[in-house]
Amino acid sequence: MSTAAVVPDLVPTRVRAQGRGELLRGLRRSKTFIVGSVIFWWWVFCAFFGSTIAPFDPNVGSSATLASPSWTHLFGTDQLGYDVFSRVLAGARSILEIAPAATALAIVAGTSIGLLTGYMRGWVDDIVSRLVEALLTIPLIVLAVTIVVALGHSTVTLIIVVGILFTPLVARTVRAAVLAERDLDYVPAARLRGERAGYIMFAEILPNVMAPIIVEATVRLGYAVFTVAGLSFLGLGVQPPTSDWAYNISQDYTLILGGNYWWTVLFPALAIASLVVAINMIADGFTQVLES
């Protein structure tokens, strides 16, 4: 490789490396980011080891049904005698399997479409943009419900459905970022060098639109948790007896209206809330640092 080819490559690498160090330093200063990360990683830990550290087997009931919180059952038991505390610990797994996988799918597909439509423009862009707009007119959860019912619910279906439904949203964000980049000097320069479109999109433009993509990914992860939990609540998520926060709530919420069995739903509800809030704190941290 000649030196002439090496030098232009070196410069952006160094700038990027410096940018990364700065990003980390900025994040370490952000209190919201740190608090959010601690909560988030706690739930990730539970997703892996929740069933192991749980005091009771989360999938085996006992005769002590609907017991109120006590030292034996910290969060009480539900109508099948499951220990709510153990169910909450073990319930982190299903949502943290589905939501991140769906987000990854949406980010990869959406980034590709966004790069393509933003860089190519023309009729491809027109058609895709119009389709995206039409798709956004139908409430996401309505589409998701229909498709999940049609395909039958399994973990894989949920990942694919939520991933595909989020793709246009990601594509829109990436497209907007690409539009701002494509007229900067380095893009025509690459074109004049004779680079192919694929190289320009993925090797030249992509690294420069990483910041909005990172923010989009964290925000999207929050919405993925939101959507997957909603579908689970509607009874379209994981199959019982696997513990799932939203599904547990949907099973027990009718109880609280009659008797006072608040602990059966409060704790899984707080678990979901803490997870989504944590993800949004992380997203907020990224936004603050990347935009300052």
Binding site: T32, R130, L131, E133, A134, L135, L136, T137, I138, P139, L140, I141, V142, L143, V145, T146, I147, V149, A150, L151, G222, Y223, V225, F226, A229, G230, F233, L234, G235, A246, I249, S250, Y253, I256, L257, N260, W262, V265, L266, A269, I272, A273, V276, V277, I279, N280, M281, A283, D284
Partner: protein, 317 residues
Amino acid sequence: MVRFLLKRIALAIVTLFLVSVIVFLVAQLLPGNVGRNVLGGFATQQSVNALNHQLGVDRPILVQYSSWISHFVQGNLGKSLEYQVSVSSLLGPSLLNSLELAAVAFVLVVPLSLLGGVVAALRRDRLTDRAITLTGLSLTATPEFVSGIILILVLGLALKILPTEASAPPGTGFFDHVYHLLAPALALTMVLFGYIARMARAGTIEALDADYTRTAVLKGLPMRTVLRRHVLRNALLPTIAVIATQMGYLIGGLVVVEKLFNYNGIGQRILTAATNKDFTMLESSVLVIAVVYLVAMLVADILYAVLNPRIRHAAAS
């Protein structure tokens, strides 16, 4: 302005056409033989075929689509496969119920979130701002059934100030009606608050930083006048468009909230239609929702055009 609106209407019609194609294709995904689903496993093959023929589902897909859409345009939404009555007779009351709930949520969320956003902008980067922004962000991210559950537990069961049933007993007055809708409407409000407030905050900050605001302050106008006449007028205009786009979410949120509060609205209709594979019901409900959404967007566009002098006066030129 007329041109602006005509363009918007034309775009809405194109979008509606695409939506109808998407809805139709998605509904075709619902597996199973329609006649078999309606008649059950013990019916003879002949009667299943006869019903399929009578319903027209044995025709080619394109023919089915064009007959569905041409009937829809004429206001004939078809016949529910599950209940064997016209879709509109079931959908009408549900849609009204949902619009009622959405209206209550709307009346709550718009002033609250605008106020939140403007206050946050005025106290930018201070504690109040961070508190409003983070609370809004967290509420927006929390699924509506989670905030709904917490509302039921706190306001309904612990403090006993709100009813936990969304439907008022029959024969009660308007205020009782609204009172029963408060809890589900609050659940929807909590989700919408963060987004609208964030937009209002961004708009206000932009207006506060603008040169005309600096001029207004420097020429000695009282802060109150500057805010009312210069900042808010410019800041809140774009927010109207944002509020309109949230209609789509609002309707989607109804599916979950209506189930949680056991409220007979269009969300419940769609959910049961999907799970029972009542696809005439499903197709028409979803398309009705899309129509409602596009009408809302159009109203927002008109409002925006009327309030924005740049567009209002463009008609003269």
